[in-house]
């Protein structure tokens, strides 16, 4: 592992200042970052020289609050705490379910929601140890997955030639629930938070830190569903969150593209309708629109449809 300087930030400003020194990264639970460093997945130039610990910031970024109907979650709040929070479970069910289905109990006890939404996109070529593949995401000349083993890759096409997927479980829930990501600089609608080309995963500047997630009050029903090969621990093959209220519907898929995918056609199809097998299936068919299956991942389109249907039915 490349040697780095570890800094315990005591304030958000101090953390931002540390990031401004160049080639630095923040750490919350560390469940994504440490593995990437440990196995030399990235070229030296992309590995940080400085790691800034956010867990030492005061006042703590570890909290869950219902602020007059708006849910506020500190960026360093652990996923397990969100999953177990009755406040989240009762008012924003999809988010609690998404947190609960993330990874494994050990990782949920360490990993934070800030880390979960900021994690680097997933591709086994990109993350192969010893920086084996100099892919587009690292500034290289080609996407190895495009013509290679792409069974888990994007079904909605490439971004800048890259077909790595965003693997976050909480991301689609936040998008579906209309959340806002609060950073050290600004407020960003969740739907816009991941809207970037490679090599980034989020729109965050290099010296910008997520401090809080705000989710507006929601009076309908929401649900999160996930398809993974293992129940005990796994990234999603496809996940889906739905938030359906009176006359409105918000549906978001993830692990199918470089960012969460809002399914406008499905939302229009189900909004205001009685939720049943037929209406859910009709809406789910929209998940097939715009897909670009690769050599090995056409099965994910079928999974995506099934997940959309399941998420809608869970909101009945």
């Amino acid at each position: 592992m490349k040697e780095f300087t570890h800094k315990n930030a005591t304030t958000v400003d101090e953390a931002v200042s540390a990031l401004q020194g160049g080639n630095a990264a923040v750490i919350g639970g560390g469940t994504d970052l440490i593995g990437t460093l440990r196995f030399h997945c990235l070229p030296d130039s992309l590995d940080p020289d400085v790691i800034v610990n956010l867990k030492t910031i005061s006042p703590s970024l570890d909290y869950i609050e219902d602020d007059g109907g708006t849910l506020k979650i500190g960026a360093c709040t652990r996923l397990e705490d969100i999953a177990k929070s009755s406040v989240v479970q009762d008012g924003w069910t999809a988010l609690a379910e998404a947190a609960h289905m993330t990874a494994s109990p050990h990782i949920r006890e360490s990993g934070t929601i800030g880390g979960n939404i900021c994690q680097v996109n997933r591709c086994w070529y990109f993350r192969k140890e010893n920086n084996r593949f100099d892919c587009l995401r690292k500034g290289g000349g080609m996407c190895f997955a495009m013509m290679g083993e792409n069974r888990y890759h994007a079904i909605y096409g490439a971004v800048g030639g890259c077909i790595a997927v965003n693997p976050s479980d909480t991301a689609p829930a936040l998008v579906a629930l209309g959340a806002t990501i609060v950073t050290s600089k600004r407020d960003i609608a969740a739907a816009d938070f991941w809207d970037v080309a490679i090599p980034g995963s989020t729109v965050l500047d290099d010296d910008e830190i997520v401090t809080e997630i705000q989710v507006p009050a929601f009076s309908g029903k929401s649900a999160f569903v996930k398809f993974a090969l293992r129940k005990s621990i796994d990234f999603p093959v496809v996940n889906c969150a739905a938030a359906i209220g009176s006359g409105s519907a918000s549906i978001c898929l993830n692990a199918v593209y470089n960012k969460p995918v809002k399914l406008t056609a499905a939302e229009e199809s189900i909004a205001g309708q009685t939720i049943d097998e037929a209406s859910a299936e009709t809406a789910a068919a929209a998940a097939g629109q715009g897909t670009v299956p690769l050599t090995n991942n056409a099965w994910k389109i079928q999974i995506a449809k099934a997940m959309v249907k399941k998420a809608i039915l869970a909101c009945a």
Binding site: H40, W124, K128, G148, F227, R230, S232, F235, A306
Partner: protein, 780 residues
């Protein structure tokens, strides 16, 4: 030949639940010593460079920057003079199972991740990691094959022209050689109502255990102390000594390693002893203790289930199988023992074609899977073609060596004074009742559940893994010693930590046979005591270790009783004056007079009595190979209940019932652990495990436990019922045959039939991942 040592009616420890496992405290508390925990003053760390290509050769290697990196103490290169000075040539390395030419640290890399080129010895692991990246290498990147069938297609590039300029095939038994042949296959096909042919294949798996690859070497003058993973430490001594010219005095210590048979280091010297060997060389070169690490070794030691099977079966429509023929294209040879020696199928032809291709070498992890996959295929296909209940087909074709069970009863069980029981009938009867098979079984695709899922049931059966103490390595030995001074009993023999509680079952036998309290018996297999034992009860190897434990314990007991009756120095009275050994017995670490149980002495008193006149009580027993007429008489079977979701392709495991005839139970806790663990492995094999390679580069892509999917217990179905049967129909002590990974093997392809039963679709490649299921169902 009756079972060795008839079973007594009463035991204090054998067969009892809740016996505290011997390695439990150390493992649960974290105080257990693993090889990576070993540390010596001044010890250096070493790591090898690994090939970034699937097939390559170094044209030039510049390690000057590596050597100059602060903290680097030595760089061992493939062209170091040590190799030639010690007579090391490429020919010293060997082919392992898998036909990969696996050099210690060669100029060539035969698969991505193959250690090669050079190794760095430095002050810390991190310095090794950083220095390894500084070499400047000019490469000759060569053509490769990661698909074994592609490697043998006409016109394929020859991968090793110096080995064979004409072909990549290393083993071909189609025209003869060491293939498995019984009866007349063609005559069997001719006599059949129906003959079918099909192709079936499965992807390859990776094993993993608690501790990654490591070896520690410490030179003490002419002595070499090695700390290394092992299955049989003696073979490490033999191999390392041979490599060093036979002049070394070696002590091998095998600490906890967490499973995997010590990475099967006895199988091929070019494979797993590489770390031990490289540690020894680096320690010799630097004059300091060296710990050699290889973090990625799991991902470059393949299990060997993969293969393409060309299968042909002749059968009658009543379910009688007349002939089976198979050609398997795979790295490792096929085990056909279960089909040939555990059924009444009279005609069998098993052929093997082994290509050289650019994946890492195979080892025999889970190798029972291969033979069970073959057996399950044949029986499932006959059930599909005849429409008969698969349990009936199993019973109809049960037998030994081509003979039916009536013949076996008259010609084997009765003459050998074996229990006259029918193992398969018993395990199937129990399993059907517990599973409620008769109510759940139905025709293919006939039951759709209210949730829209297909419902299916599956059944498989197999044959006990090992039936004789002769099997495999017969040079095991061990000693039962009563410690002078405190009277506690030690079982002395190195063996590998297989991770399955095998010390406990050995100690249970010693306790009962010696008459000692279980708590007074210690088995720490770490130190080099000059003797090796096979595994304990979680392994089929227990059939061999149990012989040692019984015999050595009985000898020790006799010595103890004789000691109690012998006169002391200066002709003083014995401990039990006027009595003979026949008048005495032992219990709970005491010796007592049978006719007067109040007259009692402790082991400590007996062992310490007249200590200046008598040596300690130590009783050794070594297994010698004997020529018994042994047969596979015990059986096991499994039943599974599944659902298939037609929208996602997910297979949901609802219920599993396993029934295993282990002959005789010594430690039920150990056996259950192995049953549940094995079943988890087997179902994981059915559903998700598969290595994935990049087709363009031959680089393995899923070399971590996120991308390499593997079941944990949390992925298992419930309820989940493992059941043990004791027929005593094996040739080990008390009629035991151990248990091994048997259910991992038996269950490894249980979904072949279950999926067909659920959907009416036959799948030809495993694992049954959702993409394959959706394709079979016509969804994609």
């Amino acid at each position: 030949m009756a079972p060795l040592y008839q079973t007594r009616e009463e035991y204090n420890y054998i067969g009892k639940e809740g016996v505290r496992r011997k390695d439990g405290y150390e493992k649960a508390s974290g105080t257990g010593l693993y090889t990576r925990d070993v540390s010596f003053p001044g010890m250096l760390i070493a790591k090898p460079f690994v090939s970034p290509y699937a097939n390559c050769k170094i044209i030039s290697l510049d390690t000057s920057a590596v050597e100059a990196y602060p903290g680097v103490r030595f760089v061992l290169r493939y062209d170091d003079p040590w190799w030639s000075e010690n007579g090391w040539t490429r020919g010293n390395a060997s082919y392992g199972w898998g036909a990969q030419y696996d050099d210690l640290l060669g100029q060539e890399g035969f698969f991505e991740g193959n250690r090669m080129g050079f190794a760095v010895v430095a002050d810390t692991e991190n310095i090794c990691d950083e220095a390894l990246r500084l070499a400047v290498i000019e490469w000759d990147v060569l053509p490769f094959y990661v698909d074994p069938e592609a490697a043998i297609e006409p016109g394929a590039t020859i991968l090793e022209p110096d080995v064979n300029p004409d072909t990549n095939i290393r083993i071909d038994t189609r025209e003869g050689g060491s293939r498995d042949v019984m009866g007349d296959v063609q005559a069997g096909f001719d006599a059949s109502d129906k003959v079918i042919e099909w192709v079936w294949s499965e992807e390859e798996e990776t094993p993993a255990a608690a501790e990654p690859g490591v070896a520690v070497a410490v030179w003490r003058g002419e002595y070499l102390d090695l700390y290394a993973h092992n299955q049989v430490p003696l073979t490490t001594t033999e191999t390392i000594n041979r490599y060093f010219g036979g002049a070394l005095k070696i002590n091998v210590h095998s600490l906890y390693q967490g499973g995997q048979f010590g990475f099967a280091n006895w199988i091929f010297p070019g494979g797993y002893k590489t770390f031990t060997m490289l540690a020894a060389i680096c320690a010799q070169k630097t004059g300091r203790p060296v710990k050699f690490l290889f973090d990625q070794m799991y991902w470059h030691n393949r299990s060997y289930e993969n293969g393409v099977y060309y299968l042909k079966c002749g059968f009658n429509m009543d379910g009688t199988i007349n002939a089976c023929e198979q050609l398997v294209i795979s790295a490792a040879p096929e085990f056909n023992a279960k089909m040939m020696h555990g059924t009444k199928i009279p005609n069998f032809n098993g052929m093997h074609l082994c290509p050289h291709f650019n994946r890492a070498g195979n080892v025999c992890y889970r190798h029972g899977m291969r033979s069970c996959a073959l057996m399950n295929n044949f029986f499932a296909k006959v059930a599909v073609e005849t429409g008969l209940d698969p349990t009936e087909i199993a019973l109809l074709n049960d037998g030994c060596d081509g003979h039916d069970m009536d013949w076996v009863m008259e010609n084997i069980k009765k003459p050998q004074d074996m229990p006259q029981r029918d193992s398969l009938q018993e395990v199937i009867t129990i399993g059907k009742q517990k599973f409620d098979w008769d109510n759940r079984y139905h025709g293919p695709g006939e039951r759709i559940l209210p949730n829209g899922n297909y419902h299916g049931v599956g059944f498989v059966w197999s044959v006990g893994w090992a039936n004789t103490p002769n099997q495999y390595l017969a040079n095991f030995q061990g000693t039962v010693a009563i410690q002078r001074g405190d009277g506690h009993v030690r079982f002395l023999a190195r063996h590998a930590d297989g991770g399955w509680n095998h010390e406990t079952s050995v100690c249970q036998i010693v306790a009962d046979e010696l008459g000692a309290a279980y708590e007074d018996i210690e088995y720490r297999p770490f130190d080099d005591v000059g003797q090796d034992a096979a595994h304990g009860e979680g392994s089929a190897g227990f059939i061999r270790t149990a012989v040692i434990a019984v015999e050595a314990s009985r000898k020790a007991k006799q010595m103890l009783l004789e000691r109690c009756c012998a006169r002391g120095a200066n002709d003083c009275d014995p401990l039990f004056p006027g009595l003979t050994p026949d008048d005495l017995d032992t219990k709970d670490s005491t010796i007592f007079e049978k006719a007067n149980p109040e007259n009692v002495k402790t082991f400590r008193e007996a062992e310490s009595y007249q200590r200046q006149q008598y040596p300690s009580i130590t009783a050794n027993h070594a297994i010698t190979r004997v020529t018994w007429d042994t047969h596979y008489l015990t059986r096991q079977c499994s039943f599974i209940d599944i659902e298939v979701n037609p929208e996602t392709g997910e297979i949901i495991l609802n219920d599993l019932v396993d029934v295993n005839d282990v002959g005789k139970i010594v430690s039920p806790d150990t056996l259950w652990g192995q049953q549940y663990g094995g079943s988890t492995m087997g179902l994981s094999h059915n559903l998700i495990e598969a290595e994935v390679y990049d087709p363009a580069t031959g680089v393995r892509l899923n070399t971590n436990l996120i991308d390499y999917k593997w079941f944990s217990f949390n992925d298992m179905p419930g309820p989940f019922s493992c059941n043990l049967v004791e027929t005593g129909m094996s040739y080990g002590p008390y009629g035991l045959n151990g248990c091994s990974e048997s259910l991992a093997a038996t269950n490894s392809t249980i979904l072949i039939y279950a999926f067909w039963n659920a959907t009416g679709k036959w799948v030809s490649r495993m694992p049954l991942t959702p993409d394959k299921v959706l394709k079979a169902l016509g969804k994609i």
